[in-house]
Symmetry: C2
Subunit: 241 residues, 2 copies
């Protein structure tokens, strides 16, 4: 088998820094974890929060700490640091080769989607963001890896898209419509959801938006691990300060 992970990420319109932080890290006992956090508000302050949370989580995961325990630790650290005044959403999707499962950890009011073939399930159990109180706990789902399994998770920018103009995005419908197509590759799913959201906001995203799609497939070809990253940037940000 193989896992493919695709990410598409855009900043709020006219804001140079995204409040969303995403990192992919290798698990010490085999596999990968995708960690996605969205700090409260937007811009530089939100970025500092989401970076702190993701940094905390990836260093705990790298030491072999379980995903759920890492989420609790990050919540307590944020609560202590900010006195419960700043929240941060968190999603972790881990490909755990030791157990042969995908582990989904969510501290995010926004749901995530789990698809098998063209059946789309919304995992939307109530879930609080990190940092808003003591004893915050994540919602955890563990799913056996099998070809055809697709996970879609995202920050709330996706669900807020179009709200300003009274045409909010229906993420579930958008995913279902896409999966009726011929088994689209994960990057196509992520790009298309993001494009849909940007379109609803008439080209000016009202919030940072990050979309992650994780797909389990039958092995396609060779044994090589691959990664591609694209980072567009504005050369005028070369300010030397």
């Amino acid at each position: 088998m193989e896992t493919q992970i695709a990410v598409a990420k855009v900043n709020k319109y006219a804001v140079s820094e995204s409040g969303d932080t995403l990192e992919v890290i290798e698990r010490p006992n085999g596999g990968l974890s995708v960690v996605l956090a969205d700090g409260q508000t937007s811009g530089r302050g939100a970025k500092a929060i989401s970076m702190m949370v993701v940094r905390n989580i990836i260093s705990l995961l790298a030491e072999g700490v379980r995903d759920g325990a890492a989420a609790r630790a990050a919540s307590d650290a944020l609560f202590t640091d900010k006195n419960g005044k700043v929240s941060c959403t968190l999603n972790i999707a881990s490909v755990d080769l030791q157990t042969g499962t995908v582990v989904l950890t969510r501290n995010n009011p926004v749901p995530l989607f789990l698809c098998r073939g063209d059946q789309v399930d919304c995992l939307g159990a109530e879930s609080l963001p990190l940092g808003v109180g003591r004893h915050i706990r994540p919602v955890i789902s563990e799913i056996d890896m099998e070809p055809g399994l697709t996970i879609v998770m995202y920050t709330d920018g996706l669900t807020h898209a179009g709200e300003r103009r009274g045409r909010p995005m229906d993420v579930c419908n958008a995913i279902t419509a896409m999966l009726e197509d011929q088994d689209p590759p994960p990057q196509e799913i992520a790009d298309s959801l993001l494009a849909h959201a940007i379109n609803l906001d008439e080209g000016r995203p009202a919030d940072d938006v990050s979309v992650v799609v994780l797909k389990v497939l039958r092995r396609q070809g060779d044994n090589v691990r691959r990664m591609t990253v694209r980072l567009p940037f504005n050369p005028t940000s070369k300010n030397g300060t």
Copy 2:
């Protein structure tokens, strides 16, 4: 402008764990760093070393520590931990949006390549791996980002390919030949170098091999950050232990 980073990575034949570890991490002041380490020997022991080094480096970079200082710190930590008996090579390639430069940090006897158009320069100044002594220092190069700049770095598995059969790989020639083509995308360069190496080893890589290609281009299209990861795995590794 935009930066594209591509990675291709394969394990030594019949060894389930690669001694190479690679992570890409966001820089706190804008940009990305690619951190690649190769622990001495191969298999589980080498993996533990290279993971420790990369973990050290990425947590320092996330705190805003300069790449060179992070490399020195990781070397001292490894030297202290292993009494100078275990070495680990290190390459860091950082896209620093604050300075508008690519910063290359190398503690690796193996050179790296810097290409502009079809001119290929080999950066091969003497460089020791981390952990072999006190006062180990990296070789650092800082290059202004401009469209057409391509960096190729790799672990020594690439240069050792074919040695066993007396036909060692000439990496410089292979890169030059490829760049004479029509401006190949970075994933094609990485894949092709890796395929060449595997071919010289007759399909059974004699060592772990990792290839990283970083390219600066004129902006091609939208403002979206993207990442794709492919992780092939063997479902029989589902052993629950």
